[in-house]
Symmetry: C2
Subunit: 336 residues, 2 copies
């Protein structure tokens, strides 16, 4: 492997000059430059990124940390992050914390040691202090799908409360008169906000009682059992808002197990907009702009890495109502 010194020698100049053309900074004579460039191609010179990182202070590497890449929420986010990052010549380290805060901690250490330039973090287990510490070590962080409003942490998410309220409103619009809610883990801020949105939209209704809310776990299994529970408590419910799509999937199964037809007997709506492939069973949901979030997260991170000071109020994007046959018979949409 040719080094910068080899190039300098062949071109008959100093390494400093070669470095200048490499980084396109500083003055350098046109003929000098061209002779250097031909030396570079002659030697097939490729700058060693490691050496560059050590001397300069950029690794051109960011990390994306998520709880579980198998959760259909994340591949799309990851795709957008990766693609945007690589567009800006950043490389992405994938960290799957597996919802395990000890793995998270371990990764934080590794990432510090590796001097990554920045981190995009989706976590429901981090403590704000940990993020602050990363920032103190010079690693900018963009928090996604979560926020700590009391701390100086740039965060990015969606309007969960408003979105949830809109979901419930859609059910009301479709004629529902008794709408239940399968709540996600209340420790997860986004989840909590959705529950608040539900309550906000229902509280004033005569039919509303707290027992219309059942606790789920963001997984299909939890949605399934929560739905059974709800049907048991309220056999006459005619609408369900699930705190996320995975729970909606479980809920659908429970509903069909109990002989409820969608949308005739019960209307069901979820939240997230994870990819679905079956028109027949696809259900209505509030779709998150995952791709836009990933892109925006990288854009913000780059600004932070460039030292720009950004407003720290949580940046919240809008979710979009996606109508499918679980709430409107004709809401059939080609999704494959």
């Amino acid at each position: 492997m040719a080094t910068i010194r080899d190039v300098a020698k062949l071109a008959g100049v100093s390494v400093a000059t070669v470095s200048r053309v490499l980084n396109q900074n500083g003055y350098v004579n046109a003929k000098t430059e061209s002779s250097i460039r031909s030396a570079m191609t002659a030697l097939q010179y490729k700058p060693n990124a490691i050496a560059r990182s050590l001397a300069g202070k950029q690794t051109s590497t960011i990390a994306l940390m998520i709880p579980d890449i198998r959760n259909p929420f994340f591949p799309e986010l990851a795709k957008a992050v990766e693609s945007t990052a690589s567009k800006h010549d950043y490389t992405v380290i994938l960290c799957d914390s597996d919802h395990d805060s000890s793995r998270e901690r371990k990764y934080f250490d590794v990432l510090k040691n590796k001097k990554i330039d920045g981190l995009i973090l989706a976590s429901y287990t981090v403590q704000p202090d940990q993020i602050l510490e990363l920032q103190a070590e010079g690693i900018p962080v963009v928090l996604v799908d979560n926020s700590f409003p009391a701390h100086p942490i740039l965060s990015l998410g969606v309007r969960n409360r408003q979105g949830a309220a809109a979901a419930v409103q859609h059910l009301l619009d479709q004629g529902c008169r008794k709408i239940a809610h399968i709540a996600g883990p209340f420790q997860v801020a986004a989840s909590h906000q959705r529950s608040l949105g539900y309550e906000e939209a229902c509280q004033s209704k005569a039919w509303f009682v707290p027992s219309l809310i059942a606790q789920g776990d963001f997984h299909a299994e939890g949605g399934y059992s929560a739905m059974l529970e709800l049907l048991d408590r309220h056999p006459d419910l005619d609408g369900v808002f699930a705190g996320n799509d995975l729970m909606a999937i479980g809920a659908r199964k429970a509903l069909s197990t109990k002989g409820r037809r969608l949308p005739e007997d019960v209307k069901l709506i979820g939240f997230d907009g994870i990819p679905v492939h079956w028109d027949e069973l696809a259900f209505s949901t509030m779709t998150q702009p995952l791709s836009a979030m990933g892109e925006l997260a990288v854009d913000y991170l780059i600004k932070l890495m460039n030292g720009e000071a950004l407003p720290l109020e949580p940046h919240e994007l809008d979710v979009e109502l996606t109508v499918r046959p679980s709430t409107v018979r004709s809401g059939l949409e080609t999704v494959y």
Copy 2:
């Protein structure tokens, strides 16, 4: 940030000695070591991985390159790769080539510059020469879900031909007498092998005609149109083997559009074993051991990185028949 020199100074030794305790190699007096260790904790010393990489010759970083993380085939693979790698203190760079060979090439360059220790590659567009070149540059490669038997490239996949034949056999066992096939892209070796497996299992049958094969594209859309085509050509078909699950999804839609009931009128089986969430619609498939593949890929890569010479015949794992209601009425299985 404390450096190794700070530690050396505080402990009253040389950096060489500190380096020795850091790497647990070479002789070092027990008391010396303990005084160094306490200096390290006192200074909160964390070795700089970049400097380490430059001086040593390991970056402890591998890359995982895949065509599209949104393809449900890959998240599980990625999860296993990531988790196994991190167990061995390797960090994983995620490269999503987006099925674009120019992006692939660009990434190869970046990865060389960054001196990654190894690469796990899933690609249907790479040329063997490119892999050879990476290897020549000292970057070991494990090729996944593809192979170039004529070249010295370690590859890992499943027994596609046998698996496909087994899928068809399952349809035969269920009483099918006219089985169609939706083929994936023939340029993809795995896909081609599956088609061969289908032909192998059908060729001897009296009902077999080449027009029972339609071309798909590994996506739901292609499966859909291929299925329509097949139904048009052979209204009496009673079994379908789709070259992958995504096409099976499209095929299912086409079948239901045309009023065919599963499994009564037509039995459908796919290939891959991507995650499904709906019991009701889940279809039979040949499940690939994705998690095992990811783990094995890393294990192999680590051996290669350690300089071990490994046998270069493609390592092929078995696929497993997963029976669901698209082929057997009672094949209901809880999948959520």
